[in-house]
């Protein structure tokens, strides 16, 4: 039997002392490399000027809607730099940083489903369907902060009446624009995209339900849902879907993004209601943005203070069950 003799270790096989002692230096090197890589990836971004983006255009011929709240309007700086628009990132400042180059022209909104006259609207058409009104609404986020915004637009019912919903239409489903190329943060948002929302037909047809194309006297900034969005002031902010591309009139209650994500926490209705807590936090109070460091939380109002106009939509309904 041939047994192969194991080669003897020679002096050449001894690990050089420098290498043997080098573990600590290796670890320091690792830390230094990590820092360098971080710097390489982040420093150019930190030094670069913020993207200039599309500049909102001044809107003319806008009339003042008589029902506006007279509360102090939130500074536009806050409304444009504190956004939930997960397609552009989940941080509050992400949308203002990442939406700068979002292409919103040309833009088409497709209206379909249970309607007699399905059609597509160009943005030019949408701007001219009805006289533009400035409506100052309270806007209450489900995260217990709120803003007061001078939106510009007209009642959604104007558009709905043009396409003539059939008697079968009981709900309206809305869909946001979604394109990973333009919204690379989208896949990491932790919610299913494209973003979808929905309203009962009578909610959608309520005169307060606004199709909005602008705010603060100008067209919508990208991070606030350019070029056209919904605003439903008595519901939590996430119902007011942004950058709208599809409107579908349907028979059955449509799926909605946050309800898909967590049905226990976000219902289909999501009316502002101080007596129904979010499972993780109280909805009894809110912080009005722009109030500074020492602003006191203010009590949240039923239907965000629009109860006189909209409570009738829900008569006989258990709002604790239909949250």
């Amino acid at each position: 039997m041939l047994v192969k003799k194991a080669p003897d270790l020679t002096y050449a096989d001894v690990t050089p002392k420098g290498l043997y002692m080098g573990r600590r230096n290796f670890l320091y090197g690792l830390a230094a490399t990590g820092t360098a890589v971080w710097g390489y990836k982040n420093i150019p971004r930190l030094l670069a000027p913020p993207p200039s983006g599309s500049t909102p255009v001044k809107l003319t011929g806008v009339t003042k809607w008589p029902g506006s709240t007279t509360e102090k309007q939130t500074p536009i700086e806050d409304v444009t730099h504190y956004n939930n628009f997960y397609e552009f990132g989940t941080g509050k400042k992400d949308p203002s940083q990442n939406a700068g180059n979002f292409v919103t022209s040309p833009w088409v909104v497709s209206v379909e489903g249970e309607v007699k006259k399905p059609r597509k609207f160009s943005m030019d058409e949408i701007m001219k369907l009805a006289p533009l009104e400035e409506r100052v609404y309270r806007h209450r986020c489900v995260e217990a902060w709120s803003i007061v915004v001078p939106w510009i637009g007209y009642s959604f019912s104007v558009l709905a009446n043009l396409v003539e919903p059939t008697p079968k239409a009981k709900f309206v489903a809305f869909q946001s624009y979604y394109d990973v190329k333009q919204m690379p943060e989208g896949p990491r948002a932790g919610i299913e995209l494209p973003y979808v929302e929905g309203l009962r037909l009578d909610e959608a047809m309520h005169p307060l339900t606004l199709l909005s194309v602008g705010m603060y006297g100008e067209t919508l900034p990208n991070q606030d849902g350019a070029p056209v969005r919904m605003v439903i002031p008595w519901k939590y902010g996430f119902k007011s879907i942004k950058s709208l591309v599809k409107i579908r009139f349907v028979k059955d209650q449509p799926p909605t993004t946050w309800n898909i994500s967590n049905a226990h926490e976000y219902g289909f209705y999501s009316n502002v209601n101080p007596t129904v807590d979010h499972p993780r936090w109280s909805q009894a109070h809110e912080h009005r943005l722009g109030g500074g460091l020492f602003d006191r939380p203010i009590p949240t109002l039923m239907f965000n203070g629009y109860g006189d106009q909209v409570a009738g939509l829900y008569s006989g309904m258990d709002l604790k069950k239909n949250y």
């Binding site: 600590r24 993780r280 009894a284 912080h287 006191r296």
Partner: protein, 217 residues
Amino acid sequence: MNAILTSKWTKVFVFILCLLPLGLLVWRAAHADLGANPIEFITHTTGDWTLRFLIFTLAITPLRKILHLPQLIRFRRMLGLFAFFYACLHFSTWIGLDKFFNWAEMWKDVQKRRFITVGFTGFVLMIPLALTSTAGWIRRLGGKRWQMLHRAIYLSAIAGVIHYYWLVKSDTRKPLQYAFIVGILLAWRLGAWLYGKRRRPDATVITHEEPTTAETA
């Protein structure tokens, strides 16, 4: 390296470094640069730094062993106390600015909302550790008992991570990063403990850390 670590100026330097996050917050507050929701900004910043300092504290022992730098122990108490300091800022921001001393609502929150319950628990667990962090208390309790008590920091760190994970709405990347780091630091301890047990199977009580009475600063 040891000369640097044992210098009293290094300790002063690290102390100032630990105050920088607070300094930056104050500077931003003075320049009205805390964003649209300053209360949320302060809450999140102080919460983040609490978790980071818990991690720094937990990293001391593994780093001492791996890098053979026993002198690192000189910084552990300071880092732990800074974790408690930022936790206090975080907690008092919630009480004073967010809830504006609405004790009834806060007590309801602590009982009802699991992310607040677990965060509150993590914070309360840090109080005895902060109080017994002095050399006098190590003597009074004895090294072993003191060390047992101070293992509560493991629970505080875990509670802190769960608190964050349960808070976020859908994007769990950041809390999972913290969970990963805390997981590694705790797994290292488990590994060191198992290794020590195997090497000394007859020993009943095995500690992988020498008592910190060595710290005299």
